[in-house]
């Protein structure tokens, strides 16, 4: 047992040396945990406020100006005032996600109780923004009209004061979310590709065969790859979280970093093992590349780190619940944003550990079969 640990350690040192010897890989790891995180965190906005809106004002009344100003910054990003003829072109080209059309005589008709129609055009291909934005604009228009008319005839008040508050991210600043999730997504990409390709390389170069005639067990070879690549990635992701996300991007991290680290390690074991497992199904690097891509993309987009799990049908949620990413994302959100302690997240940790052990077990049995096979 002691000597097995020592051998794993020695092999891990070897893996680290291999990694450090490749400047291109190091540069990519650096890029992924710094520039890429900042790019995604600052570039990608899911807020409706970020949506580009335009207004066609054919009324030029006080009410239409009130509505227009309500749709201008800060609520919307530089809503343009455009001519009716520009609507189609602007929406076709994707320049505007929303166009609000205020018809002529809108105000006077409203005052006369004629129920004039105001039209909100929504680019329904921008799914992430369209639904929420439409409701949002409807609400603004209704509110502005109501308050305008109330002032005009001194109308009544709403019966209930509904106060909606967001916990953990009061302003719903999407950078808080995307920055941390990008770190997690990149961890998954790196772990799968680095460990998987490291194994394929050993196979293509015949070094794995050499290891297998020495007093080293397949499990030790696997664990060494996991330990070495995992240590680099966990270390890099932790630095990225503290330096890039917290310090540079100023995203508050309320939860316990050591607890997050513990979860990261469990997560790392299972995704690196997943990389190894995929590598046992491929014989060559080109095969491995093609096999790992869909897996990475599915984990990237469907684990709850990009789109909410609640958007997926039950069967897919069920399938995704077997992936380590889904649990780690949920764990990370609980710990980092909501400050959850180990008493609340232990089930996720336990599931992560179980998934890790199962993947390792599968990997171990595939490993023995495929390594000895001749190519």
């Amino acid at each position: 047992m002691i000597s097995a640990t020592r051998r794993i350690f020695r092999l891990s040192v070897k893996e680290l040396r291999s990694l450090l010897a490749d400047p291109v890989l190091l540069a990519l790891i650096f890029y992924v945990f710094t520039v890429a995180v900042v790019q995604v965190a600052t570039g990608l906005k899911f807020e409706v406020e970020a949506a580009q809106a335009a207004i066609v004002d054919e009324d030029h009344s006080e009410l239409s100006r009130r509505i227009t100003s309500a749709l201008l910054p800060p609520l919307f990003k530089t809503a343009d005032v455009i001519a009716p003829a520009e609507i189609d072109a602007g929406m076709d080209s994707g320049r505007y996600v929303f166009v609000v059309e205020i018809p002529p005589k809108f105000e006077s008709d409203a005052l006369a109780g004629k129920k004039p129609s105001i039209q909100i055009n929504v680019d329904a291909t921008a799914m992430a923004l369209a639904g929420n934005g439409a409701v949002y604009i409807q609400e603004i228009v209704a509110r502005e009209t109501a308050s305008f008319l109330r002032r005009a005839d001194g109308g009544g008040v709403t019966p209930v004061d509904l106060v909606v508050r967001s916990k953990f991210n009061p302003n719903l600043n999407s950078m808080w979310f995307t920055s941390v999730m990008e770190v997690i997504n990149n961890v998954a990409i790196l772990s799968i590709i680095l460990t998987g390709s490291a194994l394929i390389r050993e196979r293509e170069h015949g070094t794995i065969e050499h290891l297998l005639v020495m007093p080293v067990r397949p499990l030790e070879i696997m664990l060494a790859k996991i330990v070495a690549n995992g240590a680099v990635i966990v270390g890099a992701s932790l630095l990225s979280l503290l330096l890039v996300v917290r310090w540079y991007l100023n995203v508050p991290i309320v939860g316990s970093v050591p607890l997050f680290l513990l979860g990261s390690i469990l997560f790392m074991v299972s995704v690196t093992a997943l990389g190894l497992l995929l590598a046992t199904f491929a014989r060559t690097m080109p095969q491995f590349g093609l096999l790992s891509l869909p897996v990475i993309i599915i984990l990237y987009l469907l684990s709850g780190s990009t789109t909410p799990l609640e958007t997926m049908p039950d069967w897919l949620q069920w399938v995704m619940s077997f992936t380590p990413n889904t649990h780690f994302v949920s764990f990370a959100q609980a710990v980092l944003y909501r400050g959850a302690g180990v008493d609340r997240v232990w089930p996720e940790l336990a599931i992560l550990a179980v998934i890790g052990v199962v993947i390792l077990g599968l990997c171990r049995s595939r490993f023995a079969k495929t390594i000895s096979a001749q190519d």
């Binding site: 020695r10 291109v24 129920k115």
Partner: protein
């Protein structure tokens, strides 16, 4: 005497190592020229410079009457030079058949179909390969591989044939046939000059002219007889040693094998060992017994089952039948104790090329758990004993074959094993190093009682074994002491004996003479761009893909899986959001309000909340996404018109989800308000205006309408670039890049040829995705179908070019794989308009989106599928995609150097 090639004061450095040091040499024309010398003295570098495959660092090289620093001259004479790199079949493509390999080379040199057919038939007949034109090159024996390599080199009738250690690792019979073949070709084409680097001195004897190299310098040149006369030695071997400077010579003495003191019992026993791969029997009921301390030699042609037998004895392969015993015990592959007693060296280099020589040794010392401080001392001792100190801190990848073999052997003996299993350990090692290596083996055997099981192609090594076994086609032909075998056959030496056994077994006779080549070489100028060469590469690449079934399956199934998963899986309808209620009022009115939530498909209710603290806690675990708190006295206040306050808490951890919840809550509360007002008879004030929301392009607001075009964009970004990303870099790792360097093919032809099949493959994949989108998901094509198809084609062109670019400038497959994944996934997912429209990204995000082709194609995909845009509106995007493709390609052409550094 005119020279076919001349070097003038040529110096070549690899970092600090001087491979060539001020060499000035003229190679005579029309002769068989040999370069002899130990490993790493610069033979390969010299040949590569003469052949124009390496860049000249300093000095001048003239080949075939022109300056090799001049790219135009190199291009012009590429068709007159043939270059065969070091290593068995390194320039061959293993999945292509014998015929297809030759055909590929013929096409590279612009030969027509009839000319190719005639030449190939002729070459196959004269090399004895004609019975197996359809056998894949990867399944040929080593000797046959080298013959095929030679055929490939000869297909264009070169004036200068450059062979870098062509017979290393080839058995004596094949070697003899190989040189006979060269002689016959020279007889037919007397003007052809042949330059050969070799480590076999007995081969060098038959050459016309020799240059001896040592340490990057020429130490002697002339005909073999002249060299012998000059040094006064009888053999070339001895003459070479005499030419060496005194300090290099000091080490040398004859190898003497002291008699064997027979140890007790057997170290290795094989009993009816059989190994089958599918239908093919690699090892067929082999039995032998090797005593302790014995040196047992294993001889046989390449591919006869030697390596397979050795692998079974190490436990790497499980025998299909029979039994292997080590020290009387049945071999157990999982037994760690056994592994400590065995040292193994495989035929191909199998140490870590990214670790230095010293690190490799240290790693193995650690893995075998040699105790410190002995381990460090042992490593130093081995560095000295195997003459590796000079290169201790270099990485093996740049070292010559012979030095790498020494390192492998040092690793194999590191842990002082009782049994050594060595698979062609001296292949490619120079004579001096081989002798010192054998002294070492003999020392191990005679002093330490180590049992040595060794396979070799060198007859003088076989003679040093206590016993040898001759193997052919999986069967043992004879076992015995070398002298006994020679006596039994009545031949003059072991080589003849061995060849006699082999000839008996194969009953083969070489075809004596072949007809002359049918077509003379066209003397037209080399075209700068020749579609035929491009086609040659494209055709070859296509054949390779079509034979790699697994890759083909992944290439089609992967995209389809993604399309189906996302088509059915992603939507932006957030449903079944878990919520709970903290109702402190519990009145009729509060229940009425809450019914609106309970009845919504967007929300799913969880057990009620009992305390204020519970709100926080259950939100924090993520169990609840939404909590509704109704204060005590709500119903009373509502009826009294006092405007009670209802608090709704949303989990803001995921902003998109939180916003969606907020909009749902707003919607529900509006419905409830309307209901309230209606009930109070306030229908009048219900709403002063109509708000008409028009969901354009997608009236039903179905997610697939926006998701499917986006997913197609994503797939066509990732998969085509991944397909091409490994194309060039793989050739660099495998070695077949040599063909690009040594034939007239230009970078543009090479890259386009490699890219073309993947464009076709990706177009087919797009076709499948398109049909699936139409049929399965009912997606319409509302806009210009032409723009969509043209856009897909140009987009695929751009993304495959991106992959080619990575492949051209990176050195390892791992780096290319990684770079492609990272650089394509991040912009394609985040900045292309897949999740959020490009117009809604921040400045920086939009910029990232603009500098990758994915965002441009996303507009085409969405525009043509759902937005109903016409061709004219999408034309700028088409142009942009074309621009990306051209730009990436240009960069790739610039990054790919025709010559090696």
């Amino acid at each position: 005497m005119s020279a076919v090639a001349a070097l003038d004061n040529v110096t070549h450095l690899y970092r600090a190592t001087r491979a060539l040091d001020g060499v000035t040499l003229a190679l005579p024309e029309g002769k068989m020229i040999g370069l002899i010398g130990p490993d790493g003295v610069g033979k390969s570098t010299l040949l590569a410079l003469v052949g124009g495959v390496r860049r000249i660092q300093s000095g001048a090289v003239t080949t075939l009457g022109g300056d090799m620093a001049d790219a135009r001259h190199r291009a012009a004479c590429a068709a007159r030079i043939a270059y065969m790199p070091q290593g068995l079949g390194r320039n061959l493509y293993p999945t292509l058949s014998v015929y297809e390999n030759l055909d590929f080379f013929g096409r590279l040199f612009g030969q027509g179909a009839a000319e190719r057919a005639a030449r190939i038939a002729d070459l196959l007949a004269s090399t004895g390969l004609d019975p197996f034109p359809d056998r894949p090159a990867g399944q040929l024996s080593g000797g046959m591989k080298q013959k095929l390599s030679l055929c490939c080199a000869l297909i264009h009738d070169p004036d200068l044939l450059i062979l870098d250690e062509p017979t290393t690792g080839v058995d004596p019979l094949s070697r003899r046939q190989f040189w006979d073949l060269i002689d016959r070709i020279r007889a037919r084409r007397p003007g052809m000059s042949v330059a050969v680097a070799t480590a076999y001195m007995e081969e060098a004897e038959r050459f016309d002219w020799l240059a001896a190299l040592n340490d990057g310098k020429i130490i002697g040149a002339g005909a073999p007889a002249e060299l012998r006369a000059l040094t006064g030695e009888k053999t070339l071997d001895a003459a070479f040693i005499a030419l060496l400077p005194p300090e290099a010579r000091a080490d040398h003495s004859d190898v003497v094998l002291p008699p064997l003191r027979a140890g007790e019992g057997a170290a290795i026993e094989a009993e009816n060992l059989t190994c089958r791969f599918g239908k093919f029997t690699a090892v067929d009921h082999v039995s032998f017994r090797i005593g302790r301390g014995e040196i047992f030699g294993f001889l046989g042609s390449n591919g006869c089952g030697k390596s397979t037998t050795m692998k079974m004895l190490t436990g790497l392969l499980a025998p299909s039948e029979g039994e292997a015993r080590l020290f009387g015990q049945k071999l157990d592959a999982g037994d760690m104790a056994t592994r400590r007693r065995v040292g193994y060296m495989s035929q191909s280099f199998s140490l870590y090329s990214e670790l230095t020589v010293r690190q490799n040794l240290a790693l193995h010392a650690q893995l075998f758990e040699l105790p410190e401080p002995g381990a460090t001392a042992r490593v130093s001792e081995l560095l000295t004993r195997f003459a590796l100190e000079g290169v201790a801190d270099q990485r093996p990848e740049g070292l010559p074959l012979g030095i790498r073999q020494r390192l492998q052997l040092a690793v194999a003996v590191l842990h002082r094993p009782e049994v050594l299993i060595l698979d062609e350990p001296t292949s490619g090692v120079d004579p001096v190093a081989r002798d010192s290596f054998w002294r070492l083996l003999i020392g191990l055997s005679r002093q330490d009682g180590v049992t040595i099981f060794i396979s070799t192609h060198f007859m003088n090594e076989a003679e040093r074994c206590d016993r040898i076994s001759l193997m052919h086609a999986g069967k043992v032909l004879a076992i015995g002491a070398p002298a006994d075998l020679v006596a039994a056959r009545g031949k003059p030496d072991l080589e003849q004996t061995f060849i006699a056994y082999l000839e008996d077994a194969t009953a083969s006779t070489e075809s004596a003479e072949a007809v002359g080549f049918a077509a003379p070489r066209g003397n037209g100028a080399i075209r700068r761009f020749d579609p035929a060469r491009l086609w040659a590469y494209a055709r070859r690449e296509a054949m390779e893909i079509l034979r790699d079934r697994l890759r083909l399956v992944f290439a089609f199934v992967g995209p389809l899986t993604l399309l189906l998963t996302f088509g059915y899986g992603i939507s932006f309808d957030v449903e079944n959001l878990a919520y709970a209620v903290y109702d402190q009022d519990n009145s009729l009115e509060s229940r009425e309000l809450l019914e609106n939530f309970a009845g919504s498909r967007y929300f799913s209710q969880r057990p009620d909340i009992g305390s204020a603290g519970e709100v926080d806690r259950r939100l924090a675990t993520g169990e609840l996404k939404l909590a509704i708190e109704i204060p005590a006295g709500y119903g009373r206040d509502l009826t009294a018109g006092k405007t009670p306050r209802v608090a709704v808490w949303i989990d803001g951890a995921m902003p998109f989800r939180a916003e969606t919840i907020r909009s749902y809550v707003t919607g529900i509360s509006q419905t409830w308000l309307a209901e309230q007002q209606r009930r109070r008879g306030l229908t009048m004030a219900a709403s002063p205006i109509n708000i008409e929301t028009r969901f354009r392009y997608n009236q039903a607001f179905k997610s697939v309408y926006s998701i499917i075009p986006g997913v197609i964009m994503l797939i066509l970004m990732l998969v085509p670039s991944m397909l091409t990303a490994l194309g060039v870099v793989r050739e660099k790792e495998v070695g077949s890049i040599a063909n690009f360097r040594s034939t007239p093919v230009t970078p543009v032809e090479f890259l386009l040829g490699k890219q073309a099949p993947y464009i076709a493959l990706s177009l087919a994949s797009f076709g499948i995705l398109f049909v699936t989108a139409l049929v399965l998901f009912g997606l319409p094509v509302r806009g210009s179908a032409l723009a969509l198809f043209l856009g897909a084609a140009l987009y695929i062109y751009a993304t495959t070019s991106l992959g080619i670019l990575f492949s051209a400038f990176l050195r390892t497959q791992v780096a290319a794989l990684f770079a492609t994944a990272v650089v394509s996934i991040i912009p394609a997912v985040n900045f292309s308009g897949l999740l959020v429209p490009v117009a809604s990204l921040s400045e920086g995000g939009r910029l990232v989106g603009l500098i990758f082709p994915c965002g441009w194609f996303q507009e085409i995909s969405i525009g043509a599928f759902t937005k109903g845009m016409d061709f004219v509106h999408l034309a700028p995007n088409l142009l942009a995609l074309l621009g990306f493709g051209l730009f990436y390609q240009l960069c790739a052409v610039l990054a790919l150097r025709k010559q090696e550094a």
